[in-house]
């Protein structure tokens, strides 16, 4: 099964990368973008034996730094995987 972990910066955490991207978007001549926040997506191919609790442990102890980041775990149905 494919699992997708979406990691985003918490509100209030400065995101210089997002700000630079925002600036570059304006450079394309496209206006009206209010804010840009950059995060990351980690896709895992896991056996069915991997529990939700184990996924939480992975996120808390390694994939995300919960001082600065939020994470969301999505278990993807087979049809969604490419």
């Amino acid at each position: 099964m494919k699992v997708r972990v979406i990691i985003s910066l918490k509100n209030g955490v400065l995101d210089p990368q997002g700000r630079a991207i925002h600036h570059a978007i304006e450079g394309l001549g496209i206006h009206g973008v209010q804010d840009v926040r950059a995060g990351k997506v980690i896709e895992l191919e896991v056996d069915n034996s991997v529990s939700d609790a184990q996924l939480e442990t992975m996120c808390k102890q390694l994939l995300a730094n919960t001082v600065i980041e939020n994470y969301r775990i999505e278990r993807m149905a087979a049809a969604e995987t490419v």
């Binding site: 209030g12 400065l14 210089p16 990368q17 102890q61 390694l62 994939l63 001082v67 600065i68």
Partner: protein, 226 residues
């Protein structure tokens, strides 16, 4: 007093480990042990552990994140818990925050650029094992070389660090966007220090100055006094 025993941990991608070992040899003296990240145990009876600068694991995932989970780090965490002085410089600081030994996190520099130059620091407290050789309020010059040195912690944590005298160094100029211009922080017990500037690169005049020397001397003197 028995021989001073220190260790420098080398992770894959560390690049200031030799500089750190030279600083320990020349300033602290005694035995300097070089320890590989994959080792499960530290040498016995250590007086000082240093985590050097560099780009451990290529900064994959987050700076210091992979190194913080390497086998040797459990031994470092245990040693810190027993009160052994632990210094993390630059990437070493990032590793200490990722390992949970220090609060907060190091974000990408606010200006997005890698900053590599000498900076002015203010010594915020001399009531500490690492900074006893300086005077409070003293301004010193130490080089920085980092991309992710922008110290972040929530307001409550920052207030606690300030009120408990755990901000060791502050930038005396704008460098990387760090919250309250914090350059180095201590743990609650005062035996773990993380800092972005590189004191090991300022131990003798040939390096352009020796403002970093007192930090290493302070640890040796503190140990003798203890």
């Amino acid at each position: 007093m028995s021989t001073f025993r220190s260790a420098v941990i080398t992770f894959p991608g560390s690049n200031c480990d030799r500089d750190m070992a030279v600083a320990l040899e020349q300033v602290c003296g005694g035995e300097v042990h070089r320890v590989w990240h994959g080792d499960a145990a530290l040498p016995e009876r250590l007086d000082f552990i240093a985590l050097p600068g560099g780009f451990s694991y290529g900064d994959y995932l987050r700076s210091g994140a992979m190194a913080a989970r390497s086998p040797i780090m459990q031994a470092v965490i245990d040693a810190a818990g027993r009160g052994v002085p632990v210094l993390g410089v630059c990437n070493g600081f990032q590793v200490l925050t990722e390992a949970g030994l220090l609060p907060g996190a190091l974000l990408r520099n606010a200006g997005m650029n890698f900053v590599c130059r000498e900076v002015a620091l203010t010594v915020e407290t001399s009531q500490n094992l690492f900074t006893a050789g300086y005077s409070q309020g003293q301004q010193i010059t130490i080089p920085v070389a980092h991309h992710d040195g922008n110290y972040f912690a929530d307001a409550a944590t920052l207030d606690r660090l300030e009120s408990e005298g755990r901000v060791a160094f502050r930038y005396a100029e704008e460098v990387n966007g760090s919250a309250r211009q914090i350059a180095g922080v201590l743990n609650a017990a005062g035996n773990v220090l993380g800092m972005m500037p590189h004191p090991e690169r300022m131990i003798e005049p040939a390096q352009g100055g020796n403002d970093g020397r007192a930090l290493f001397e302070s640890v040796v003197k503190g140990l003798v006094a203890a």
